[in-house]
């Protein structure tokens, strides 16, 4: 377990170290947009005079600035990229946190419900395909309906709808996971042993098995965040929420590299740190202390 956490930490640092290196490699290989990259990502005010800079020198300079979260200034608005990322992250949190809550609550209820009622299981089998329809389809349809109904762009209802749409696929993952974990644990020798020892089923769950379910939940937190950060703009852009999504899209359309680098670095850092904390929590919770 220690080894796993060490590797994770090293790989996280390596990923962050790679972010400023990628544009430099691309400039050196002369692939594309070198001028934009120089002026934008590297935020070199006198790009032409600094083109002869050594790779190492530029890289260390960039890395040093990234370490203090200084991604330069937006080439489109002139604001510090860090400010833009922070303000939009706060706005997106209003979508991501409800989405996670919805996914966990609905997913758990349906996952447990499948075990208790064959009707819910049958219904899930029939409706399974809806979870695989791209969330942008739902986002557009609901954006149309909300606009038609005259719901304002700053209404909390829009955030709730955005959260619900973003939660569609993660809910499916939680349902599958809860369902599988319950089946696996209920049929395990570990569980049967406790029943044979005289524990009731709820008692065995409350005393021993909740940890295994909690480990599953923790694992999903990271995967959910990865999914949600990646596809945030699919819900925020149509629903008109001024979070990370629209800012990210507009920065791409404007070739605003400092903001793009800021978004990518913060997302990698945030998810990496959460993943690291999740690993620590798992090692504390898991009675087996071994991962497959």
């Amino acid at each position: 377990m220690k080894q796993r956490i060490t590797y994770r930490l090293l790989l996280l640092l390596l990923t962050l170290a790679m972010i400023p290196a990628v544009p430099l490699f691309i400039i050196l290989s002369g692939v594309n947009s070198a001028e934009y990259v120089m002026r934008g990502t590297l935020n070199l005010s006198e790009a032409s005079s600094k083109q002869n800079l050594q790779f190492g020198e530029v890289y260390i300079d960039l890395l040093g600035r990234m370490a203090v979260l200084d991604f330069g200034q937006s080439t489109a608005t002139g604001q510090p990229a860090r400010t833009i990322v922070a303000s939009s992250l706060a706005e997106s949190a209003k979508v991501i946190l409800p989405a996670m809550l919805i996914a966990y609550v609905i997913g758990t209820l349906v996952g447990v419900g499948i075990q208790m009622s064959s009707l819910i299981g049958q219904l899930m089998r029939w409706l399974r395909f809806t979870f695989f329809i791209p969330i942008i389809v739902f986002a557009y349809l609901l954006a149309y309906l909300l606009s038609y109904a005259g719901v304002s762009s700053i209404s909390p209802l829009r955030y709730l709808v955005a959260g619900a749409v973003l939660a569609i696929f993660p809910t499916y993952l939680v349902i599958q996971s809860v369902n599988r974990t319950i089946v696996d644990i209920s049929s395990s020798k570990f569980f049967q042993y406790h029943l044979a020892m005289g524990f009731s089923t709820p008692d065995a769950w409350a005393r021993f098995c909740w940890r295994l379910l909690a480990i599953d939940y923790l694992s999903f937190a990271v995967h959910m965040l990865v999914f949600m950060f990646g596809f945030l703009y699919f819900v925020e852009v149509p629903l008109g929420i001024e979070g990370m999504g629209p800012r990210f899209v507009s920065s791409i359309y404007r070739y605003d590299y400092p903001v793009i680098v800021g978004f990518c670095s913060i997302a990698v850092l945030l998810i990496g740190v959460i993943g690291f904390l999740v690993d620590m929590a798992r090692s504390w919770l898991d009675p087996r202390k071994v991962y497959v």
């Binding site: 796993r4 990628v22 399974r128 695989f132 329809i133 791209p134 995967h223 852009v237």
Partner: protein
């Protein structure tokens, strides 16, 4: 879904695509009517550049399907190679490091990293297919690694090793046929994921470039005209939903293998 239903749905989808294909060839795809509403000449109206929306959507859907198929094949092959190497590696430290890297990769916002790389590399559907293949290979490799490791513990594999067959011989003659159907099934289950990732890039304008159309670009272009020219976004959205559902309903034979 039973076999006959799956076949019927497949035929219906193929017939529909053929019909729309005929329409796309026959229709006057370039007109001077900008944002023209649906009419007998243009069943689903025209877009901002006066192009027929249905014909554009048809061409965009074909590109999306081809990309999904190409990336799926590339990911399947690369995942098999990387996962196979991972499972066959004797050096435990190296194997643990590789497995940790692959596990770590799953917790990185792959899409954002891939978008970052795509921006620097420049737009284009071929580049997009390559970036997607690279981004999706680690998770495929992890699955392949898990399946092969599990197969290596099966009695038939252990008996053959005990008889003196080399690891490579056992891998090619026994393990590969044993795990291939489930890996193939896993690859097919990833088709909707690949479609969504392709859409995500095209929505940002990083994939197919004008004058070629893409579903993502059409959706993005239709957003400001949500009410005034609804046909611009409704048709690509309907096609997207239909393709996703068709990709989710995997062939009967594969489902049977999974069971």
């Amino acid at each position: 879904m039973c076999k006959s239903n799956a076949i019927m749905m497949g035929f219906a989808a193929a017939a529909m695509m053929f019909g729309i294909g005929v329409y796309a060839v026959a229709v006057d795809s370039e007109t001077s009517v900008i944002l023209g509403p649906p009419s007998s000449n243009h069943w689903f109206g025209t877009d901002l550049a006066g192009r027929d929306v249905l014909a554009q959507t048809f061409s965009a859907s074909l590109i999306a399907i081809l990309t999904v198929a190409g990336v799926a094949i590339a990911v399947h092959i690369c995942g098999f190679i990387v996962g196979g190497i991972l499972a066959q590696t004797q050096n435990r430290v190296l194997r643990d490091m590789l497995a940790s890297f692959v596990n770590y990769w799953l917790t990185v916002p792959t899409l954002l990293v891939a978008i970052f790389v795509m921006i620097l590399l420049g737009s284009g559907q071929v580049k997009l297919a390559v970036v997607l293949s690279v981004a999706l290979t680690p998770s495929q490799a992890l699955y392949v690694y898990a399946r092969i490791s599990e197969a290596q513990k099966q009695p038939f594999a252990m008996v053959k090793r005990a008889y003196g067959f080399s690891r490579l011989q056992v891998f090619f003659s026994d393990l590969m046929p044993y795990v291939h159907s489930s890996i193939w099934s896993y690859t097919l289950s990833r088709l909707p994921e690949i479609l969504v990732m392709d859409l995500a890039f095209n929505y940002l304008g990083l994939g197919v470039q004008p004058p070629q159309a893409s579903l993502g670009r059409m959706l993005f272009a239709g957003l400001p005209f949500m009410f005034s020219a609804w046909w611009i976004w409704v048709v690509p959205l309907a096609f997207l939903g239909a393709i996703a559902i068709l990709l989710t309903l995997r062939p009967y034979k594969v489902r049977a293998m999974e069971a």
